[in-house]
């Protein structure tokens, strides 16, 4: 049965414009080994995103310096939180004195800004499920928008080596930390991210991603629903809830459409 043959490769089958044929008899759940070659490929894939990431991290470092955050705090935030948009939002909310309520509030805001990661993780789970829980717990610490974009594209091309994500994630994490401290040092020189379009780095990467994800007009219907629902949500609710509400609406539309994607 075709449906069984797809098991474990839903994204591969559905997202690739020309899906790689899978031999039906072969068990699909066996994990591909993590290779050095895969990690190097991840490094190569992430290298084209690095200039944008550097600019973003420099902007965060500069914003942190402008807010009076200490160098150690900026370093720890980039190393431990490692999620650009939420870090910039945190700089908006940063304060000299912290109450427990303010800390909890910041955690909630961070979770809503980063809620898209829940869906990004879900989208690649069939791939991750082939690997051990410990390994997933480890590499997911380094899971970012860039990793998700790389992993999604790599999967669509038929790739299965998780080393690609591990390599890309580790490289990007180091770059993120170094560039944060660079921006912290430069400080107010680059404190206005708007002027150089730094606030557009993430949207540009996302918009560019539409091109490799494109698979004809039929696949577009969930996207249109996602976009419209997100627009309405953004009008009604402050913050970044629109991402998760819109994305879920798109996924549900995709799930209940009659024709195959």
């Amino acid at each position: 049965m075709r449906v069984d043959a797809w098991r474990g490769f839903p994204l591969l089958e559905a997202m690739s414009p020309e899906p790689k044929p899978q031999s039906p008899g072969q068990p699909a759940v066996k994990a591909a080994p993590i290779t050095m070659g895969g990690m190097l490929l991840g490094l190569r894939r992430v290298s084209v995103l690095i200039p944008g990431i550097v600019v973003f991290a420099v902007a965060f470092g500069a914003a942190a310096a402008a807010k009076g955050v200490t160098g150690l705090e900026a370093f720890l935030m980039s190393a431990l939180v490692y999620a650009g948009v939420s870090q910039l939002v945190a700089m908006e909310l940063w304060r000299p004195e912290w109450s427990w309520g303010a800390i909890a509030g910041l955690a909630v805001v961070t979770a809503t800004v980063n809620a898209r990661m829940v869906l990004q993780g879900a989208a690649l789970q069939p791939w991750f499920a082939q690997y051990s829980r410990t390994l997933n717990a480890f590499h997911l610490f380094f899971y970012t928008d860039a990793n998700w974009l790389i992993g999604t594209r790599y999967q669509a091309e038929g790739g299965r080596d998780l080393g690609v994500l591990v390599g890309a994630g580790l490289a990007l994490w180091l770059v993120w930390i170094v560039a944060t401290m660079l921006g912290y040092g430069l400080g107010t020189l680059v404190a206005d991210p708007r002027r150089y379009g730094i606030d557009l780095v993430m949207p540009i990467f996302f918009a560019a991603m539409i091109v490799p994800l494109w698979r004809g007009r039929r696949g577009m219907v969930p996207w249109v629903v996602a976009g419209l629902v997100a627009l309405v949500t953004a009008k009604l609710v402050d913050g970044y809830a629109f991402i998760i509400v819109g994305s879920l609406a798109g996924a549900i539309t995709g799930a209940f459409r009659d024709d195959h994607p």
């Binding site: 997933n136 379009g197 997100a230 949500t233």
Partner: protein, 105 residues
Amino acid sequence: MTIPDPGTWGPMLAILAMAVATYLCRISGVALMSVIPLTPHVRRGLAALPGSIVVATVLPLIERLGVAAGIALLVAVGTMILRRSELLALITGMAAISALRAFGF
């Protein structure tokens, strides 16, 4: 008995709280999907998810950031169609937004 104020540890605890919240976001989607069976419906939903995330992220941001941002994103997508290079798309997109903003859009 009351919990003492965070005091000088406030910033560190705030960073830690952000780190925990973010890591939970990172793992919870994967954890959740590992208990949901991969029925054809779920499979199709997952297939529609990446594009939906992209569109749902970008469209409202254009709405918030303005027409100049929309034009810059179109430039980036156009570059991507012609050259298939994220780096080139980033360069043209940021050049477009910088130029538009420099001219007061």
